[in-house]
Symmetry: none
Subunit: 117 residues, 2 copies
DNA sequence: TCAGGTCCAACGTTCACCGTG
DNA sequence: GCACGGTGAACGTTGGACCTG
């Protein structure tokens, strides 16, 4: 990891309610105001339909390209934690969460109406 | 961190303006122009923050993962030679040299200003 | 600009081989 | 000879940099 050092100390922020502006790190590229929907690391915009970090975007891309079939490390039962520090521990649960979060190969966003929470 | 297979089946040109090139052995992977900072064997790029050979990289990794505490073979006094042919003679002195050379678990390079020699 | 793609340094895992007891 | 743990070369994976329509 490299760019993650300066977390853009937000400072005085107006609350542009309806604006589509985002906050970026000094190194640009990384959004500080929208986390990855899969692992909650900082995202770098939308990938495959959802806000996601570079790691989850790359992982999802490689998984679907090669038709990966993973087996959960937890005796195949699922339920592994998927966050920034644990996301590489179980590929099955990471991919499952990617799909549940709405990732798809065509990059289509899911309308808010259909989203679960 | 990132990493792809070192296979890179050459052939294709693609020079990729990366400012500093390295010299590799015919078998690829191994740098011939930058030695391991610990044992002076040929390195295979940076590992845990410094240029290191596969052996010292693997040794450091195993040592920190298992919290190894070694005792110097030289009556606990230190000062054992650590080079390609002697690096496996004393684990305590090898690990000490890894740390002094700047190896760390996060793989952060130390700025040149702070480096001793 | 955004969100796809490629590239590849640096990481992790594996396991034949080796030295020791 | 056998069992065991450490070694390090080979190979697969990750994710940030850069490219492209
Ligand atoms: Zn993520
Ligand atoms: Zn799992
Ligand atoms: Zn070395
Ligand atoms: Zn020693």
């Amino acid at each position: 990891m490299v760019g993650s050092t300066g977390l853009s100390s937000s400072s005085s922020s107006h609350h542009h309610h309806h604006s589509h502006h985002h906050s970026y790190t000094p190194s640009s590229r990384i959004l500080t105001d929208v986390p990855c929907k899969v692992c909650h690391d900082n995202s770098s915009g939308k990938h495959y339909g959802i806000f996601a970090c570079d790691g989850c975007a790359g992982f999802f891309k490689r998984s679907i390209r090669r038709n990966r079939q993973y087996v959960c490390k937890n005796k195949g039962q699922g339920g592994c934690q998927v966050d920034k520090t644990h996301r590489n521990q179980c590929r099955a649960c990471r991919l499952k969460k990617c799909v549940e979060a709405g990732m798809n190969r065509d990059g289509k966003s899911i309308p808010p109406f259909f989203q679960s929470h």
